[in-house]
Amino acid sequence: MIIKDMMVRDVHTLSPDSTLAEALELMNIEKVRHLPVIDITGKVVGIISDRDLKEFSPSPFQPAESKKLYDTKVLDIMTTPAITGHPLDFVEEVAVLFMEEKIGCLPIVSEDKLVGMITETDVLHTLVQLTGATQPGSQIEVKVPNKQGMLYEVAGIIRKNHSNIHSVLVYPDQHDEQYKVLVFRVQTMNPMSVIEDLRAEGHEVLWPNLPSSPL
């Protein structure tokens, strides 16, 4: 998925002349943790996070200083230059960037202007959609040898049982790199016939896996 399709377009911003007090108020009202700072042409010149604000906010132990501190210009406390992204970036790239740079948000820039914003929450939301967890379904995990054609084979068995697949994830096996774990979310309340067929074809179904009833 590309960032253009998942970014927030209605972004709350500050100007370099805004004050710390204004930044605090905007974050409070809009319940956001990051505010990009843009100049009059719409160019991103910096970014302010809630952590920056905490650092520069007046201490309750020094009330005399507070007026001066609240009037501090954003220009003097923002992080600059800000790391930015492009509308055509991929969500995977952005996720890696968040991890490597230890940041939680990315202003998206096109033709030198701010056009949107993407945050950790948006990336997480996309992940939730990828896992199919928002639609009613059952989860089946199958351990398969790490070789070509396995997904095709397993999916074929699900198809034979007329079950619609919401999502597929492929993980490397944590313990043995010769294997992979295929995770399917299938739109059915009764995955038992799929599981029986998978086992009959010699596949290792990790879950559901029950001790057999003694009766």
Binding site: G132, A133, Q135, P136, G137, S138, Q139, I140, E141, N161, H162, S163, N164, R185, Q187, T188, M189, N190, P191, M192, W207, P208, L210, P211, S212, S213, P214, L215
Partner: protein
């Protein structure tokens, strides 16, 4: 001089909603959802001497207006067309019809509206004071959505019944769902509604259908804090299940103070059920209605409506489990642990598995797993987290 207090006379302790028409909700020969369960249960109660003709009330049909309380008109029209064989495959799929879970069958609208009508019949008996309790085992189809069939459910009788009680009787309804699957359809119907409250105790959705029912699903907007979920780990077993049920039921009812309780009694958490993994036994199906009964009297002047739900071992589990609801409502408990020989003799030939001959499960009905301590601990933590807002406000209050 004191005026004589207005005495309300309730005619009966309980009514049992049933007619053979409920059996028409039938997807196919080998579909796991099989309403033969109703017949087997009623028969077991009859041979046990726990029920007679006068206890039984036939279900009415729900009207389109009543279904409309929850369901979209377009969806109702689609179900009706599907039942007449007039709905194209593509259109059907948009409504969740014609899938493996909810195949199309003849007159499916009528059959489904009958199940909803059964629950409404039960509601009217209780809310008009004609009976203290009522049970419609044909209901409890908690996966039905506003505009989509899901998980063996077409219309959602419980959702319709809750809205119906709100509008007709201005009642605050507490919905308790002990089916092994999350009661998603009912939860989403009232997710932003603070005048009803849902509590679902189920096997975690990490693997099991429908996948929802996490602790943090607490409601939305004004309804935030009126939706409760206790997702239990696989292999939970009786003790931990009942701890979750008792703790959460008591805390939630004390918080919500309902006028009436609606319980969904899916019997698929049993270890013999083919679709789930909670490893419980008949013990929980004795305790579940017992507490519902007690709390209904404590908080709601006895007003308690019970519906059925899941339950896919229809021979060995469901009839015994569901009989317990009626026995609890009426106090007509079995005199011995043996099931009536007449029932066993009548149904054993039809059953593909040897029937269990006693009300309680025989020793060793399931194979315990060694992780019990860990699972119990995990569940205990889940209960605490799910009830945290209630416990917190109690401590502050």
């Amino acid at each position: 001089m004191a005026k004589p207090s207005k005495l309300t006379t309730v005619e009966k302790d309980a009514v049992f909603i049933y007619s053979d028409e409920l059996l028409n909700y039938r997807f196919s020969e080998d579909h796991p959802f099989n309403q033969k369960r109703l017949q087997l249960t009623l028969d077991l109660l009859t041979f046990s001497g726990a029920i007679n003709e006068s206890d039984i009330v036939p279900p009415r049909m729900a009207t389109d207006d009543e279904l409309n309380l929850i369901h979209d008109s377009a969806y109702i029209a689609a179900v009706r067309m599907a039942g007449n064989g007039e709905l194209s495959k593509e259109k059907a799929e948009n409504f969740g019809l014609g899938t493996e879970d909810t195949p199309i069958f003849k007159d499916m609208h009528e059959a489904s509206a009958r199940l909803v009508g059964g629950t409404l019949t039960a509601v009217d008996y209780v809310m008009e004071g004609k009976a203290l309790h009522a049970v419609n085992l044909g209901g409890g189809l908690h996966h039905g959505f506003r505009g989509k069939a899901s998980g063996f459910c077409i219309y959602n009788d419980s959702s319709v019944a809750i809205r119906y009680m709100q509008e007709k009787y201005h009642a605050r309804v507490l919905y308790i769902d002990t089916d092994a699957h999350h009661g998603d359809g009912v939860q989403w119907s009232f997710y932003d509604d603070p005048s009803s409250c849902t509590l679902s105790i189920h096997e975690t959705g990490r693997y099991l259908f429908p996948g929802t029912g996490a602790i943090n699903e607490r409601g939305h907007g004004k309804g935030y804090g009126c939706s409760f979920n206790i997702p239990l780990d696989a292999f939970t077993e009786d003790e931990s299940f009942l701890e979750a049920y008792e703790r959460s039921f008591r805390e939630v009812i004390e918080f919500f103070k309902p006028d009436v309780i609606l319980t969904q009694n899916g019997a698929d958490a049993h270890c013999l059920d083919p679709l789930t993994h909670l490893s419980s036994t008949m013990k929980i199906y004795e305790e579940i209605p017992k507490l519902a009964h007690q709390l209904a009297h404590e908080y709601c002047g006895g007003k308690w409506i019970a519906v059925g739900g899941g339950g896919y071992d229809i021979w060995r589990v469901v009839p015994r489990a569901w009989s317990r609801i009626w026995m609890e409502m009426t106090g007509r408990f079995p005199e011995s642990d043996e099931l009536p020989a007449e029932w066993l003799n009548k149904w054993q030939p039809a059953s593909p598995v040897p029937l269990i001959k006693t009300w309680h499960d025989p020793e060793g009905v399931y194979q315990a797993i060694p992780r019990k301590k860990e699972i119990t601990e995990k569940n205990a933590q889940t209960i605490e987290k799910a009830l945290y807002p209630l416990l917190k406000s109690k401590n502050q209050g």
